[in-house]
């Protein structure tokens, strides 16, 4: 937790540093990965002031932070961008705090900005303490316990299906990402639709004055594969029925399973 950081970084504004201070400062730098962002680092630095966070000197804190960043640079330690952004902001804040306020200038005063930073630090510290108090509470399964042997009554056995919100969201994410990488295209290669059959037959029907087997209207090249044959047959048959319904053709079949024959109707119904 936060309290693990008992290293006290040196205040570079005070000239002589004790060995311990220097060691601590080095430790801070080596540990830079251990900090959860610039605010966390600032909070740790602020501990050296040993005052209530409300009374903290933001100016002094800004100096400490900038000195820290300087040292890190000198040691060629790569600092994440947000540490540098914070450094730039603190440098700006420092100048605002040091220079007399310019009446021409817009925007918040250095004091206002400093107060906000102090507030942020205080809030983060408060949350840390709250988290520690929360985790220190008596906890289920550690300090107090639930029923170990829930009663399983062998009465009505009803199945209830369950899923968590996480399941739901992950399922959706799975479908959507699949789409992103492999757009889905419906495979129509082996499907001959009724619309296609109708179109084909409308074109041919003008020539069919005599009874002809409807199998002759089958599309070319669809007979060599079972799936395709079945699809084409069904579509052609359905299209024939549709044409009969519209009054364009007549259909006949001599007996069950005999070939179905078709011919153009001479005088279509109006």
């Amino acid at each position: 937790m936060a309290d693990d950081f008992d290293a006290e970084p040196a205040n570079t504004d005070d000239a002589p540093q004790s060995v311990a201070d220097r060691v601590a400062a080095e430790a801070l730098i080596v540990d830079v990965d251990g900090f959860e962002g610039p605010l966390d680092l600032l909070l740790t630095l602020s501990r050296t002031q040993k005052v209530d966070l409300r009374k903290i000197s933001v100016l002094q804190l800004a100096r400490q932070y900038l000195a820290f960043v300087e040292r890190a640079k000198r040691l060629r330690i790569e600092l994440a961008a947000d540490y540098l952004v914070m450094a730039a902001w603190l440098a700006f804040l420092k100048s605002r705090l040091l220079l007399p306020p310019d009446p021409e200038e817009e925007g918040p005063s250095g004091e206002e900005l400093a107060a906000h930073l102090a507030f942020q630090l205080e809030r983060l510290e408060a949350m840390r303490k709250a988290a520690a108090r929360l985790m220190a509470r008596d906890r289920l399964g550690r300090d107090f316990f639930a029923r170990g042997l829930p009663e399983d009554v062998e009465r009505v056995r009803k199945v209830s299906y369950s899923a968590t919100l996480l399941d739901l969201m992950q399922a959706y994410a799975r479908i959507k990402t699949k789409d992103e990488f492999r757009p889905y295209a419906y495979d129509r290669k082996n499907v001959f639709t009724m619309e296609q059959a109708l179109e084909r037959m409308r074109g041919l029907i003008g020539f069919a004055g005599t009874w002809t087997d409807i199998s002759t209207y089958m599309p070319d090249g669809w007979g060599n594969n079972r799936t395709r044959l079945r699809s084409a047959t069904a579509a052609t048959f359905a299209a024939s029925l549709e044409l009969a319904k519209e009054g364009h053709v007549e259909l006949r079949q001599s007996e069950t399973f005999a070939p179905i024959q078709l011919r153009r109707r001479e005088t279509p119904h109006e």
Binding site: A131, L134, L140, F144, L166
Partner: protein
């Protein structure tokens, strides 16, 4: 044995008008026994509504709970409130007797613990607000882990630009930390009085994620709702 069967018949009369029914509710002592049995049998907290649904018509589980709770005061197990539900849990001082389960199968990181605390104290809270408070972006998997543990869930979207989703804590969270209510979080009152639960925009800066006065209003509204009763 026969008695229980008659009761079952009673319960079947679902479409009889409320309260004044043909069948009288069982005496309070009997209702207390029923609540006791149901709470004992279940690992999970049981809501009053659920108790009502399971008990004979006209029962008043809320009153029975008052009696039952008193009866178990100071005993080895206790009747505890968890949000709007009730459960029986062992007394915390006897924890040393138990074979500890390994609750935290995955140890929570410092980031996860802080994120959890921020959600609990600031709920409903957006990801951007969590990041503002911690001063660092919420890492991948932190929220995921808390969701998976069912300690947090999605709350209502905020009525601010972008309508960001919010997070709130769950009943499982309350149960795990032995809290009756989110209002009982340690130090909550003091933190609120000190203004540390406010979402204050940086002076002069554009408010965070469109978080203006409007956002704050909405937030406090949502919060008072959550912390109600």
């Amino acid at each position: 044995m026969n008695e229980s069967e008659t009761r079952e018949d009673d319960r079947d009369e679902a479409d009889t008008p409320p309260r004044e029914s043909l069948f009288e509710a069982p005496p309070m002592a009997e209702q207390e026994r029923m609540v006791e049995a149901v709470l004992f049998a279940s690992t999970e907290p049981v809501t009053v509504r659920d108790l009502e649904a399971r008990m004979p018509h006209g029962s008043d589980p809320a009153e029975a709970l008052v009696h039952l709770r008193k009866r178990y005061e100071g005993r080895g197990v206790q009747v505890v409130r968890v949000g709007d539900a009730w459960a029986i849990r062992t007394a915390p001082d006897l924890g040393f007797l138990m074979q500890k389960e390994t609750v935290e199968t995955r140890k929570l990181s410092r980031a996860a613990i802080e994120t959890l605390a921020i959600i609990a104290y600031h709920q409903p809270v957006t990801r951007a607000e969590i990041e503002e408070i911690r001063g660092v972006s919420v890492s991948r998997g932190t929220v995921d882990q808390l969701l998976e543990m069912e300690w947090i869930r999605f709350g209502r979207r905020k009525m601010t630009p972008g309508r960001p989703v919010t997070f709130v804590v769950t009943q499982e969270f309350l149960d795990h930390f032995g809290l009756e209510n989110a209002r009982d979080l340690p130090g909550l009152k003091e933190l609120r009085a000190a203004g540390l639960l406010e979402s204050r925009p940086m002076p002069g800066a554009a408010p965070l994620g469109g978080e203006g006065d409007e956002g704050e209003e909405e937030a406090s509204e949502g919060q008072s709702e959550l912390f109600e009763d």
